[in-house]
Symmetry: C2
Subunit: 361 residues, 2 copies
């Protein structure tokens, strides 16, 4: 490790902080923040002073500035902007931290952080981690871990499957795509512009890359996913995601990591899908025609009906010729239970066992 050029022996030093002044609309402006300078306070027992070296710039920062429901409280007006960062201990009154140690965690947008040794969520790293410092915030940091988590636990990708990664030249996407290759998948990346696309295939080993800014984006996507898409590692949302979903195979899986296309939009933050990320929901569409155990299900249901544990309800309308109008009743809420049309209105037709004929509407 090189010698630190920060002098720590002439307190008080000045700490610059960027504090949220107004909630940005659209892009963030410098005027949305107050730049406050104040002396670094004297350390108390158990505290360490951390010089913030690098700040991680993450799409989620933009979400934190918004006063909407999310997984952490929004940053309050007047509060130092929250951010993940990497710093070095320059002064310590804690036995757990030594001067020179690296610390990773929510440092915020400021020069110095006073950290108590009991604070949660901070990771101490050795003074020389053997890896470039910015990488500790990138491929070997939260971005890389996010990609790893997504592809190993959220939607494990199998060798031979086609994986599509959006924002594939970004911090998480570039790792996700490369992990997909390590795991044996065929990997198609989506990125903006021919330079990034070339980079994905030439430098990062992606099998193909698709330019979402190109006029023929959808055709490119189709051409590069001839067998459909098995897994989508989604970072973008909006039109890009819709295009990928339309290429997915029946039963495909989506890891919803981010929805950056909507983060600057007041109307549709993260599309309708945003809440799935915030609450880590899983959602699965299904059609009964895929079901293979129908006989077993019918037996169970019929048993419960006979036992009286399950009440079967039908609304029976009559006359084949009325089918169009009867169908509309599904949408106006005027029926209860199963809506059935008796084809022949004449009561003599096979009425013997239809004890429940009658209209609850």
């Amino acid at each position: 490790m090189e010698r630190l050029s920060v002098t720590v022996n002439r307190m008080p030093q000045l700490n610059r902080q960027l504090r949220l002044k107004t909630r940005p609309e659209g892009l963030v402006r410098r005027e949305d923040f107050d730049l406050v300078e104040q002396p670094v306070p004297e350390l108390k027992d158990g505290e360490v002073l951390v010089r913030v070296l690098y700040l991680s710039m993450d799409p989620t920062n933009r979400v934190w500035m918004r006063d909407i429901p999310q997984y952490l409280p929004p940053v309050a007006i007047g509060e130092v902007m929250r951010a993940l960062g990497l710093g070095r201990v320059v002064q310590s009154r804690s036995a757990q931290y030594h001067e020179g140690d690296l610390v990773q965690g929510l440092t915020g947008w400021q020069d110095y952080l006073v950290l108590h040794e009991s604070a949660k969520g901070y990771v101490r790293l050795p003074a020389d981690p053997g890896i470039p410092l910015p990488t500790l915030l990138g491929a070997a940091g939260m971005s890389g871990v996010t990609a790893y988590y997504g592809l190993t636990e959220i939607v494990p990708v199998q060798a031979g499957e086609t994986l599509v990664v959006s924002a594939a030249a970004g911090s998480v996407g570039s790792v996700a795509g490369q992990l997909g290759k390590i795991m044996g998948a065929r990997v198609v990346g989506i990125a903006g512009g021919p330079d990034k696309c070339r980079h994905l295939t030439a430098e990062l080993g992606f099998d193909a890359a698709v330019d979402y800014k190109a006029a023929d984006f959808k055709q490119q996507l189709k051409a590069t996913t001839p067998d459909g898409v098995h897994v989508n590692f989604e970072n973008v949302g909006g039109e890009v995601m819709r295009a990928v979903l339309s290429r997915m195979v029946i039963g495909g899986r989506v890891a919803l990591c981010g929805l950056i296309s909507g983060y600057n939009s007041a109307e549709r933050p993260g599309d309708d899908y945003g809440i799935l990320v915030m609450k880590r929901l899983s959602m699965r569409g299904f059609l009964v025609l895929d079901y293979t155990r129908t006989r077993e299900a019918v037996q169970a249901l019929a048993g419960w009906i006979r036992d009286g544990r399950l009440k079967a309800e039908e609304t029976v309308a009559e006359g084949l010729e009325n089918a169009p109008e009867v169908l509309n009743r599904l949408f106006d809420g005027s029926h209860r239970g199963k809506l059935v049309l008796r084809v022949d209105a004449r009561p003599a037709i096979d009425a013997g066992r239809t004890a429940r004929v009658g209209d609850a509407g």
Copy 2:
């Protein structure tokens, strides 16, 4: 079984068919169909003549009328409207079907179906199934099986969990809610109007019911789900679903069965979520802060970086005071890999190991 009143000995009989003439917009109109009468053809060897008794009226019928991507081809103009139905064999030239047998399957909107014994997707039932005929299309038929499939395989619900079912007075929803009770869940149903809501709790055993037409719908939903919602069996979509999602616990599960609120809408068929049903996709939102194996992931990632199998890329910008503008670069596509802000612009600050500092933008 009662004697059939249909006479089968005076061929040819007339078969009425409703054929799709124009694709409906909004509600279905009778004029969207041609009512065609034609003689029932003579049976060939291996064929049976089925008198259609009951037609199942299903929301998915409305989807089939639309020329949009879906799980079956849309009904073609001029084609008999596709529908699930229940009929009785009135004439047979097949050893596999006997007169009097019940047959369930895609009968279509018509009086008679000529079925070949080799046709797939038809189920033969005994002449007297011991259950009312309409129930065979409802709680003991596809509607019931759909609910059973959803709650046992798609999102198994556990005893003690809170299950919310939308369109809870409908064919699938009423069974799903009752199954939830059988499985030991606390069940809250969403239905339209106080009568239906009362019916759910008084007759069907739901723990609570919420009226989506009420002005205080969201408050009702909140009050009846004090511990949040663990599982949502979703039949409606749109605003109703959004309200339920907002009540879900972290890590909640959604079985997406239907999105009836959008089926009549030209703009947003089934919301953005429709494709999840059509393609039976699973989608899972996630946040890395939930991940418990970070150390293992970082080790794997760092190992691949050292081996050269994983390329770590960073774009490093400089100067704490520039943080707001630098953050915007996440959204304009001007960077590659991880975007990191070096807090102090002076190169002497801990630059020793940041070999990759440089701006790819």
